[in-house]
Protein backbone atom coordinates (compact mmCIF):
# COMPACT_ATOMS: atom_id res chain seq x y z
CA UNK A 1 0.00 0.00 0.00
CA UNK A 2 0.99 3.56 -0.60
CA UNK A 3 4.08 2.97 -2.70
CA UNK A 4 4.94 4.88 -5.84
CA UNK A 5 7.59 6.74 -7.79
CA UNK A 6 7.20 10.06 -9.61
CA UNK A 7 7.92 13.26 -7.73
CA UNK A 8 7.30 11.60 -4.38
CA UNK A 9 9.01 8.20 -4.39
CA UNK A 10 7.89 6.02 -1.48
CA UNK A 11 8.26 2.33 -0.73
CA UNK A 12 4.87 0.78 -0.04
CA UNK A 13 3.87 -0.57 3.35
CA UNK A 14 2.09 -3.78 4.30
CA UNK A 15 -1.41 -3.45 5.79
CA UNK A 16 -2.27 -7.12 6.19
CA UNK A 17 -0.52 -10.39 5.54
CA UNK A 18 -3.39 -12.61 6.59
CA UNK A 19 -6.27 -11.43 4.42
CA UNK A 20 -8.44 -14.31 3.22
CA UNK A 21 -8.59 -14.51 -0.56
CA UNK A 22 -12.37 -14.20 -0.56
CA UNK A 23 -12.14 -10.80 1.16
CA UNK A 24 -9.68 -9.26 -1.30
CA UNK A 25 -12.23 -7.12 -3.16
CA UNK A 26 -13.90 -5.97 0.05
CA UNK A 27 -10.57 -4.93 1.53
CA UNK A 28 -9.52 -3.03 -1.57
CA UNK A 29 -12.90 -1.33 -1.59
CA UNK A 30 -12.38 -0.32 2.03
CA UNK A 31 -8.96 1.14 1.17
CA UNK A 32 -10.43 3.17 -1.68
CA UNK A 33 -13.27 4.47 0.47
CA UNK A 34 -10.85 5.73 3.11
CA UNK A 35 -8.77 7.38 0.41
CA UNK A 36 -11.85 8.83 -1.29
CA UNK A 37 -13.07 10.36 1.94
CA UNK A 38 -9.76 11.75 3.21
CA UNK A 39 -7.34 12.05 0.28
CA UNK A 40 -6.04 15.48 -0.67
CA UNK A 41 -8.22 17.45 -3.09
CA UNK A 42 -6.47 20.80 -2.92
CA UNK A 43 -3.33 19.85 -4.85
CA UNK A 44 -3.42 17.38 -7.73
CA UNK A 45 0.22 16.39 -7.14
CA UNK A 46 -0.71 15.29 -3.65
CA UNK A 47 -3.95 13.54 -4.63
CA UNK A 48 -2.35 10.13 -4.09
CA UNK A 49 -2.95 7.24 -1.72
CA UNK A 50 0.75 7.31 -0.83
CA UNK A 51 0.42 10.90 0.38
CA UNK A 52 -2.52 10.01 2.62
CA UNK A 53 -0.72 6.98 4.05
CA UNK A 54 2.27 9.19 4.88
CA UNK A 55 0.06 11.89 6.40
CA UNK A 56 -1.94 9.52 8.59
CA UNK A 57 0.83 7.05 9.30
CA UNK A 58 0.51 3.36 8.47
CA UNK A 59 -1.15 2.41 11.76
CA UNK A 60 -3.85 5.05 11.56
CA UNK A 61 -4.49 4.33 7.88
CA UNK A 62 -4.78 0.64 8.67
CA UNK A 63 -7.15 1.37 11.57
CA UNK A 64 -9.47 3.38 9.33
CA UNK A 65 -9.42 0.72 6.62
CA UNK A 66 -10.21 -1.99 9.17
CA UNK A 67 -13.04 0.11 10.61
CA UNK A 68 -14.58 0.41 7.15
CA UNK A 69 -13.87 -3.23 6.34
CA UNK A 70 -15.67 -4.66 9.38
CA UNK A 71 -18.70 -2.44 8.70
CA UNK A 72 -19.08 -3.71 5.14
CA UNK A 73 -21.55 -6.36 4.05
CA UNK A 74 -18.76 -8.77 3.25
CA UNK A 75 -21.00 -11.46 1.82
CA UNK A 76 -21.71 -9.14 -1.09
CA UNK A 77 -18.04 -8.72 -1.86
CA UNK A 78 -16.99 -12.31 -1.28
CA UNK A 79 -14.94 -13.71 -4.14
CA UNK A 80 -16.39 -17.14 -4.81
CA UNK A 81 -13.85 -19.95 -5.06
CA UNK A 82 -15.44 -20.89 -8.40
CA UNK A 83 -14.54 -17.47 -9.78
CA UNK A 84 -10.94 -17.80 -8.63
CA UNK A 85 -10.79 -21.25 -10.20
CA UNK A 86 -12.17 -19.90 -13.48
CA UNK A 87 -9.51 -17.19 -13.57
CA UNK A 88 -6.78 -19.66 -12.66
CA UNK A 89 -7.88 -21.92 -15.48
CA UNK A 90 -7.09 -19.12 -17.91
CA UNK A 91 -3.52 -18.97 -16.64
CA UNK A 92 -2.96 -22.70 -16.71
CA UNK A 93 0.37 -24.26 -17.59
CA UNK A 94 0.77 -25.60 -21.12
CA UNK A 95 1.03 -29.33 -21.73
CA UNK A 96 4.68 -29.96 -21.04
CA UNK A 97 6.36 -32.90 -22.75
CA UNK A 98 8.26 -35.40 -20.64
CA UNK A 99 11.82 -34.40 -19.76
CA UNK A 100 13.50 -37.14 -21.77
CA UNK A 101 17.18 -36.35 -22.24
CA UNK A 102 16.60 -32.58 -22.66
CA UNK A 103 18.81 -31.59 -19.72
CA UNK A 104 21.64 -33.80 -20.90
CA UNK A 105 21.44 -32.33 -24.43
CA UNK A 106 21.63 -28.81 -23.02
CA UNK A 107 24.63 -29.68 -20.84
CA UNK A 108 26.40 -31.09 -23.87
CA UNK A 109 25.53 -28.06 -26.04
CA UNK A 110 26.91 -25.75 -23.35
CA UNK A 111 30.11 -27.76 -23.06
CA UNK A 112 30.74 -27.62 -26.80
CA UNK A 113 29.85 -23.95 -27.37
CA UNK A 114 31.40 -21.36 -25.04
CA UNK A 115 29.47 -18.41 -26.46
CA UNK A 116 26.21 -20.29 -26.03
CA UNK A 117 27.17 -21.22 -22.49
CA UNK A 118 27.82 -17.57 -21.60
CA UNK A 119 24.43 -16.56 -22.95
CA UNK A 120 22.66 -19.35 -21.06
CA UNK A 121 24.32 -18.18 -17.85
CA UNK A 122 22.98 -14.62 -18.13
CA UNK A 123 19.84 -14.89 -20.22
CA UNK A 124 17.90 -17.84 -18.80
CA UNK A 125 15.97 -18.72 -15.67
CA UNK A 126 15.21 -22.11 -14.21
CA UNK A 127 11.84 -23.57 -15.10
CA UNK A 128 9.60 -25.50 -12.75
CA UNK A 129 8.96 -28.17 -15.38
CA UNK A 130 11.85 -30.63 -15.86
CA UNK A 131 13.42 -30.32 -19.31
CA UNK A 132 12.28 -26.70 -19.81
CA UNK A 133 13.95 -23.35 -19.34
CA UNK A 134 12.81 -19.74 -19.46
CA UNK A 135 14.64 -17.37 -21.81
CA UNK A 136 15.17 -13.63 -21.55
CA UNK A 137 15.90 -12.13 -24.96
CA UNK A 138 17.95 -8.98 -24.53
CA UNK A 139 16.84 -5.99 -26.58
CA UNK A 140 19.94 -4.14 -25.40
CA UNK A 141 22.69 -4.58 -28.02
CA UNK A 142 25.89 -2.58 -27.47
CA UNK A 143 25.19 1.06 -28.23
CA UNK A 144 21.58 0.32 -29.11
CA UNK A 145 18.33 1.91 -28.04
CA UNK A 146 16.94 -0.01 -25.03
CA UNK A 147 13.94 -2.10 -25.94
CA UNK A 148 14.00 -1.45 -29.68
CA UNK A 149 13.34 -4.23 -32.15
CA UNK A 150 12.94 -4.08 -35.92
CA UNK A 151 9.91 -5.44 -37.76
CA UNK A 152 12.01 -8.40 -38.92
CA UNK A 153 13.15 -9.10 -35.36
CA UNK A 154 9.56 -8.99 -34.13
CA UNK A 155 8.55 -11.44 -36.84
CA UNK A 156 11.34 -13.74 -35.70
CA UNK A 157 10.27 -13.43 -32.04
CA UNK A 158 6.72 -14.34 -33.01
CA UNK A 159 7.94 -17.33 -35.00
CA UNK A 160 10.18 -18.52 -32.15
CA UNK A 161 7.31 -18.18 -29.70
CA UNK A 162 5.13 -20.31 -31.96
CA UNK A 163 7.79 -22.92 -32.62
CA UNK A 164 9.44 -23.20 -29.22
CA UNK A 165 7.32 -21.63 -26.46
CA UNK A 166 3.66 -22.62 -26.87
CA UNK A 167 2.91 -19.45 -28.82
CA UNK A 168 3.59 -17.27 -25.79
CA UNK A 169 6.02 -14.42 -25.30
CA UNK A 170 6.09 -11.63 -22.77
CA UNK A 171 7.37 -8.09 -23.03
CA UNK A 172 8.85 -7.19 -19.66
CA UNK A 173 9.08 -3.93 -17.71
CA UNK A 174 12.84 -4.26 -18.10
CA UNK A 175 12.32 -3.77 -21.84
CA UNK A 176 13.30 -7.28 -22.81
CA UNK A 177 11.26 -10.21 -24.14
CA UNK A 178 10.72 -13.52 -22.37
CA UNK A 179 10.02 -16.89 -23.96
CA UNK A 180 8.54 -18.65 -20.98
CA UNK A 181 8.73 -22.34 -21.79
CA UNK A 182 11.56 -23.48 -24.07
CA UNK A 183 12.70 -27.09 -24.13
CA UNK A 184 16.29 -27.40 -22.99
CA UNK A 185 17.25 -29.56 -25.96
CA UNK A 186 15.96 -26.84 -28.33
CA UNK A 187 17.66 -23.93 -26.58
CA UNK A 188 20.77 -24.03 -28.75
CA UNK A 189 18.63 -23.73 -31.90
CA UNK A 190 16.71 -20.81 -30.39
CA UNK A 191 19.97 -19.09 -29.47
CA UNK A 192 21.42 -19.57 -32.95
CA UNK A 193 18.38 -18.05 -34.60
CA UNK A 194 18.36 -15.15 -32.12
CA UNK A 195 22.06 -14.52 -32.66
CA UNK A 196 21.70 -14.48 -36.45
CA UNK A 197 19.12 -11.70 -36.03
CA UNK A 198 21.25 -9.67 -33.62
CA UNK A 199 19.18 -10.74 -30.61
CA UNK A 200 21.78 -12.87 -28.83
CA UNK A 201 23.31 -10.22 -26.56
CA UNK A 202 24.35 -11.99 -23.34
CA UNK A 203 23.93 -9.06 -20.97
CA UNK A 204 20.72 -9.53 -18.95
CA UNK A 205 21.04 -7.73 -15.57
CA UNK A 206 24.43 -6.32 -16.54
CA UNK A 207 25.31 -2.63 -16.71
CA UNK A 208 24.26 -2.37 -20.37
CA UNK A 209 20.83 -3.91 -19.69
CA UNK A 210 19.56 -0.34 -19.31
CA UNK A 211 15.94 0.69 -18.91
CA UNK A 212 15.14 4.08 -20.44
CA UNK A 213 11.90 5.96 -20.95
CA UNK A 214 11.30 7.43 -24.44
CA UNK A 215 12.54 10.79 -23.18
CA UNK A 216 12.46 14.10 -24.99
CA UNK A 217 12.92 12.41 -28.37
CA UNK A 218 9.32 11.21 -28.19
CA UNK A 219 7.65 12.56 -25.06
CA UNK A 220 6.10 15.98 -24.58
CA UNK A 221 6.52 15.82 -20.80
CA UNK A 222 10.26 15.15 -20.83
CA UNK A 223 12.93 17.62 -19.75
CA UNK A 224 15.81 15.71 -21.31
CA UNK A 225 16.52 12.97 -23.81
CA UNK A 226 16.92 9.53 -22.23
CA UNK A 227 17.93 7.50 -25.26
CA UNK A 228 21.23 9.15 -26.29
CA UNK A 229 22.72 8.85 -22.80
CA UNK A 230 21.56 5.24 -22.63
CA UNK A 231 23.35 4.57 -25.90
CA UNK A 232 26.51 6.31 -24.72
CA UNK A 233 26.58 4.28 -21.52
CA UNK A 234 25.90 1.10 -23.48
CA UNK A 235 28.84 1.90 -25.78
CA UNK A 236 31.13 2.89 -22.90
CA UNK A 237 30.62 -0.47 -21.19
CA UNK A 238 30.19 -2.57 -24.33
CA UNK A 239 33.09 -4.89 -23.52
CA UNK A 240 31.53 -8.14 -22.33
CA UNK A 241 34.46 -9.12 -20.14
CA UNK A 242 34.17 -5.79 -18.34
CA UNK A 243 30.42 -6.24 -17.93
CA UNK A 244 30.91 -9.69 -16.40
CA UNK A 245 33.50 -8.23 -14.07
CA UNK A 246 31.07 -5.52 -12.94
CA UNK A 247 28.27 -8.04 -12.54
CA UNK A 248 24.65 -7.24 -11.68
CA UNK A 249 23.98 -3.55 -11.99
CA UNK A 250 20.64 -1.99 -12.84
CA UNK A 251 20.68 1.38 -14.59
CA UNK A 252 17.31 3.06 -15.17
CA UNK A 253 16.90 6.40 -16.91
CA UNK A 254 13.93 8.79 -16.75
CA UNK A 255 13.67 11.96 -18.82
CA UNK A 256 11.58 13.77 -16.22
CA UNK A 257 10.39 13.64 -12.64
CA UNK A 258 7.39 11.47 -13.50
CA UNK A 259 9.90 8.60 -13.41
CA UNK A 260 8.53 6.31 -16.14
CA UNK A 261 12.06 4.86 -16.33
CA UNK A 262 11.80 3.97 -12.61
CA UNK A 263 15.16 5.58 -11.90
CA UNK A 264 14.45 5.64 -8.14
CA UNK A 265 14.31 1.85 -8.14
CA UNK A 266 17.66 1.42 -9.91
CA UNK A 267 21.00 0.63 -8.33
CA UNK A 268 22.19 3.58 -10.41
CA UNK A 269 19.40 5.87 -11.54
CA UNK A 270 19.65 8.76 -13.96
CA UNK A 271 17.08 11.55 -14.04
CA UNK A 272 16.97 14.08 -16.85
CA UNK A 273 16.31 17.64 -15.72
CA UNK A 274 16.17 21.07 -17.29
CA UNK A 275 18.99 23.20 -15.96
CA UNK A 276 18.50 26.75 -17.18
CA UNK A 277 17.35 25.57 -20.58
CA UNK A 278 20.02 22.87 -20.91
CA UNK A 279 19.53 19.14 -20.59
CA UNK A 280 21.26 17.83 -17.49
CA UNK A 281 21.28 14.59 -15.54
CA UNK A 282 21.05 13.79 -11.85
CA UNK A 283 22.44 10.51 -10.52
CA UNK A 284 20.70 8.53 -7.77
CA UNK A 285 22.38 5.59 -6.04
CA UNK A 286 21.15 2.73 -3.92
CA UNK A 287 17.68 2.09 -5.27
CA UNK A 288 16.17 -1.35 -5.65
CA UNK A 289 12.86 -2.69 -6.89
CA UNK A 290 13.51 -6.17 -5.53
CA UNK A 291 12.75 -7.78 -2.18
CA UNK A 292 15.20 -5.34 -0.56
CA UNK A 293 13.28 -2.39 -2.03
CA UNK A 294 14.72 1.06 -1.47
CA UNK A 295 14.60 4.51 -3.03
CA UNK A 296 17.80 5.75 -4.64
CA UNK A 297 19.37 8.84 -3.07
CA UNK A 298 20.41 11.84 -5.13
CA UNK A 299 24.18 11.98 -5.32
CA UNK A 300 24.62 15.67 -6.13
CA UNK A 301 24.00 18.42 -8.68
CA UNK A 302 22.99 17.51 -12.22
CA UNK A 303 25.63 17.30 -14.94
CA UNK A 304 25.72 17.51 -18.71
CA UNK A 305 25.33 14.27 -20.68
CA UNK A 306 28.98 13.47 -21.31
CA UNK A 307 29.97 14.47 -17.77
CA UNK A 308 27.34 12.08 -16.49
CA UNK A 309 28.70 9.20 -18.55
CA UNK A 310 32.19 9.93 -17.19
CA UNK A 311 30.79 10.13 -13.67
CA UNK A 312 29.23 6.68 -14.06
CA UNK A 313 32.62 5.34 -15.13
CA UNK A 314 34.24 6.78 -12.00
CA UNK A 315 31.49 5.31 -9.81
CA UNK A 316 32.09 1.90 -11.36
CA UNK A 317 35.85 2.22 -10.89
CA UNK A 318 35.34 3.01 -7.22
CA UNK A 319 33.04 0.04 -6.83
CA UNK A 320 35.57 -2.30 -8.45
CA UNK A 321 38.24 -1.07 -6.03
CA UNK A 322 36.11 -1.09 -2.89
CA UNK A 323 33.96 -4.19 -3.34
CA UNK A 324 34.39 -7.16 -1.08
CA UNK A 325 33.85 -10.80 -1.93
CA UNK A 326 30.86 -11.23 -4.21
CA UNK A 327 29.30 -7.85 -3.54
CA UNK A 328 27.11 -6.27 -6.19
CA UNK A 329 27.44 -2.55 -6.87
CA UNK A 330 24.36 -2.01 -4.70
CA UNK A 331 25.83 -3.97 -1.78
CA UNK A 332 29.08 -2.03 -1.86
CA UNK A 333 27.24 1.28 -2.04
CA UNK A 334 25.07 0.34 0.94
CA UNK A 335 28.07 -0.78 2.97
CA UNK A 336 30.47 2.02 2.07
CA UNK A 337 27.93 4.85 2.10
CA UNK A 338 27.35 7.89 -0.06
CA UNK A 339 30.36 10.04 0.77
CA UNK A 340 33.02 8.07 -1.10
CA UNK A 341 30.83 7.83 -4.19
CA UNK A 342 30.03 11.51 -4.02
CA UNK A 343 33.70 12.41 -3.75
CA UNK A 344 34.67 10.40 -6.78
CA UNK A 345 32.12 12.29 -8.87
CA UNK A 346 32.32 15.82 -7.48
CA UNK A 347 35.66 16.26 -5.72
CA UNK A 348 38.20 18.17 -7.82
CA UNK A 349 40.72 15.81 -9.39
Amino acid sequence: MGGGLGRTPIVGVSLRDDLPEEDLLAYMEAILRVYNAHGRRDNIYKARIKILVQALGTDEFRRQVEEEFVAMDRARYRIEPALVAAIKARFGAPDFAPEGNAAAVLAEDRRRDIAFDAWVRTNTHEHKAPGYISVVISLKPAGGIPGDATAEQLDLLADLADEFSFGELRVTHLQNVVLGHVRQDQLHTVWQRLSQAGLGTPNVNFITDIVACPGLDYCALANARSIPIAQKLSSRFADLELQREIGDLRINISGCINACGHHHAAHLGILGVDKRGQEAFQITLGGSGEEDASIGQILGPAMAEDETVDAVSRLIDLYLVRRENGERFLDTYRRVGTAAFKDVVYAPA
Binding site: L32, R33, N36, A37, M72, D73, R76, Y77, A82, L83
Partner: protein
Protein backbone atom coordinates in the same frame (compact mmCIF):
# COMPACT_ATOMS: atom_id res chain seq x y z
CA UNK B 1 -33.46 21.64 -13.27
CA UNK B 2 -34.64 18.25 -14.63
CA UNK B 3 -34.53 15.25 -12.32
CA UNK B 4 -33.62 11.87 -13.80
CA UNK B 5 -34.70 8.50 -12.51
CA UNK B 6 -33.88 5.27 -14.30
CA UNK B 7 -32.67 7.29 -17.24
CA UNK B 8 -35.88 9.29 -17.67
CA UNK B 9 -36.94 12.77 -16.55
CA UNK B 10 -39.45 12.70 -13.71
CA UNK B 11 -41.42 15.41 -11.99
CA UNK B 12 -39.54 16.94 -9.09
CA UNK B 13 -41.99 17.36 -6.20
CA UNK B 14 -39.30 18.68 -3.87
CA UNK B 15 -38.18 22.22 -3.32
CA UNK B 16 -35.00 23.50 -1.68
CA UNK B 17 -35.28 25.68 1.40
CA UNK B 18 -34.49 29.33 0.65
CA UNK B 19 -31.99 31.00 2.91
CA UNK B 20 -33.56 33.46 5.33
CA UNK B 21 -37.10 32.20 4.66
CA UNK B 22 -39.30 29.92 6.72
CA UNK B 23 -39.46 26.30 5.59
CA UNK B 24 -43.23 26.28 5.23
CA UNK B 25 -45.26 23.18 4.52
CA UNK B 26 -44.78 20.45 1.90
CA UNK B 27 -41.74 18.45 0.82
CA UNK B 28 -38.62 20.45 1.42
CA UNK B 29 -34.86 19.84 1.26
CA UNK B 30 -32.85 21.72 3.88
CA UNK B 31 -29.15 22.38 4.32
CA UNK B 32 -27.46 20.40 7.06
CA UNK B 33 -27.42 23.34 9.46
CA UNK B 34 -31.22 23.60 9.29
CA UNK B 35 -31.80 19.91 9.87
CA UNK B 36 -33.22 20.29 13.38
CA UNK B 37 -35.50 23.07 12.18
CA UNK B 38 -36.76 20.73 9.47
CA UNK B 39 -37.22 17.87 11.90
CA UNK B 40 -39.30 20.18 14.08
CA UNK B 41 -41.95 20.65 11.41
CA UNK B 42 -45.25 18.84 11.83
CA UNK B 43 -46.22 18.29 8.19
CA UNK B 44 -44.51 17.49 4.91
CA UNK B 45 -41.59 15.22 4.11
CA UNK B 46 -38.02 16.23 4.77
CA UNK B 47 -34.78 15.97 2.81
CA UNK B 48 -31.28 17.17 3.62
CA UNK B 49 -28.19 18.19 1.66
CA UNK B 50 -25.11 16.33 2.84
CA UNK B 51 -21.91 18.23 2.01
CA UNK B 52 -19.29 15.85 0.64
CA UNK B 53 -16.85 16.75 3.40
CA UNK B 54 -19.17 15.33 6.09
CA UNK B 55 -19.21 11.77 7.36
CA UNK B 56 -22.58 10.12 6.79
CA UNK B 57 -22.72 9.37 10.50
CA UNK B 58 -23.86 12.98 11.13
CA UNK B 59 -27.24 11.85 9.79
CA UNK B 60 -27.43 8.70 11.84
CA UNK B 61 -30.05 9.96 14.32
CA UNK B 62 -32.17 11.81 11.79
CA UNK B 63 -32.09 9.21 9.03
CA UNK B 64 -35.33 7.37 9.89
CA UNK B 65 -37.17 10.68 9.53
CA UNK B 66 -35.59 11.64 6.22
CA UNK B 67 -37.14 10.85 2.84
CA UNK B 68 -34.27 12.23 0.75
CA UNK B 69 -30.55 12.72 1.19
CA UNK B 70 -28.86 14.89 -1.45
CA UNK B 71 -25.20 14.07 -2.08
CA UNK B 72 -23.15 16.70 -3.81
CA UNK B 73 -20.51 17.01 -6.53
CA UNK B 74 -18.78 20.42 -6.51
CA UNK B 75 -16.87 19.10 -9.53
CA UNK B 76 -17.17 15.77 -11.32
CA UNK B 77 -13.74 14.52 -10.24
CA UNK B 78 -14.45 14.97 -6.54
CA UNK B 79 -16.03 11.57 -5.97
CA UNK B 80 -16.59 11.59 -2.23
CA UNK B 81 -20.35 11.45 -2.77
CA UNK B 82 -20.01 7.96 -4.29
CA UNK B 83 -18.65 6.62 -1.02
CA UNK B 84 -21.24 8.57 0.97
CA UNK B 85 -24.07 7.01 -1.04
CA UNK B 86 -22.63 3.56 -0.50
CA UNK B 87 -22.16 4.17 3.19
CA UNK B 88 -25.74 5.44 3.56
CA UNK B 89 -27.02 2.22 2.03
CA UNK B 90 -24.52 -0.25 3.34
CA UNK B 91 -23.69 1.00 6.81
CA UNK B 92 -26.79 2.96 7.82
CA UNK B 93 -29.29 0.91 5.78
CA UNK B 94 -31.00 4.04 4.50
CA UNK B 95 -33.99 3.10 2.34
CA UNK B 96 -35.16 6.58 1.29
CA UNK B 97 -34.11 8.34 -1.89
CA UNK B 98 -30.56 9.43 -2.53
CA UNK B 99 -30.32 12.27 -4.97
CA UNK B 100 -27.09 13.44 -6.62
CA UNK B 101 -26.62 17.12 -7.29
CA UNK B 102 -23.90 19.26 -8.81
CA UNK B 103 -21.35 18.75 -11.59
CA UNK B 104 -21.99 15.21 -12.79
CA UNK B 105 -21.17 13.64 -16.14
CA UNK B 106 -23.33 11.09 -17.97
CA UNK B 107 -20.38 8.65 -17.80
CA UNK B 108 -20.82 8.62 -14.01
CA UNK B 109 -24.54 7.88 -14.08
CA UNK B 110 -24.32 4.10 -13.92
CA UNK B 111 -21.73 4.23 -11.14
CA UNK B 112 -24.03 6.50 -9.14
CA UNK B 113 -26.87 4.03 -9.43
CA UNK B 114 -24.56 1.16 -8.50
CA UNK B 115 -23.63 3.11 -5.37
CA UNK B 116 -27.24 3.54 -4.34
CA UNK B 117 -28.20 6.88 -5.89
CA UNK B 118 -31.80 6.96 -7.20
CA UNK B 119 -32.10 10.32 -8.86
CA UNK B 120 -29.77 12.80 -10.49
CA UNK B 121 -30.25 16.51 -11.05
CA UNK B 122 -29.04 17.38 -14.54
CA UNK B 123 -28.69 20.78 -16.15
CA UNK B 124 -31.62 22.16 -18.15
CA UNK B 125 -29.83 21.87 -21.49
CA UNK B 126 -28.61 18.29 -20.97
CA UNK B 127 -29.14 15.83 -23.83
CA UNK B 128 -31.46 13.25 -22.26
CA UNK B 129 -30.62 10.64 -24.89
CA UNK B 130 -26.99 10.66 -23.71
CA UNK B 131 -28.02 10.07 -20.10
CA UNK B 132 -30.39 7.31 -21.08
CA UNK B 133 -27.71 5.67 -23.22
CA UNK B 134 -25.23 5.88 -20.35
CA UNK B 135 -27.33 3.39 -18.41
CA UNK B 136 -27.32 0.84 -21.22
CA UNK B 137 -23.74 1.05 -22.39
CA UNK B 138 -22.24 -1.57 -20.11
CA UNK B 139 -23.85 -4.83 -19.17
CA UNK B 140 -21.15 -6.09 -16.86
CA UNK B 141 -19.48 -4.72 -13.78
CA UNK B 142 -16.50 -6.05 -11.89
CA UNK B 143 -17.52 -4.68 -8.50
CA UNK B 144 -20.62 -5.79 -6.64
CA UNK B 145 -23.16 -3.09 -5.87
CA UNK B 146 -24.34 -2.66 -2.28
CA UNK B 147 -27.91 -2.03 -3.45
CA UNK B 148 -28.68 -3.82 -6.69
CA UNK B 149 -29.98 -7.30 -6.21
CA UNK B 150 -27.90 -8.87 -8.92
CA UNK B 151 -26.42 -11.98 -7.42
CA UNK B 152 -25.47 -14.35 -8.81
CA UNK B 153 -25.60 -13.35 -12.48
CA UNK B 154 -25.06 -9.64 -12.01
CA UNK B 155 -21.62 -9.94 -10.49
CA UNK B 156 -20.38 -9.14 -13.94
CA UNK B 157 -16.99 -10.73 -14.00
CA UNK B 158 -18.45 -14.07 -13.07
CA UNK B 159 -21.03 -13.80 -15.81
CA UNK B 160 -18.32 -12.90 -18.27
CA UNK B 161 -16.21 -15.85 -17.23
CA UNK B 162 -19.14 -18.23 -17.41
CA UNK B 163 -19.51 -17.46 -21.11
CA UNK B 164 -17.22 -19.74 -23.09
Amino acid sequence: MPLLENGHPVEDTWRYAVEGEALGAGDVIVPLDRLSEGLGRSEGRLGVVLPNSEAVSVLKEALPKLAVVVVTFPIFRDGRAFSQARALREHLHFTGKIRASGHILPDQYEFLIRCGVDSVEVSGNADMAVWEEALRRFTIATQPSPVLDEKPTGFGLRRFLATP
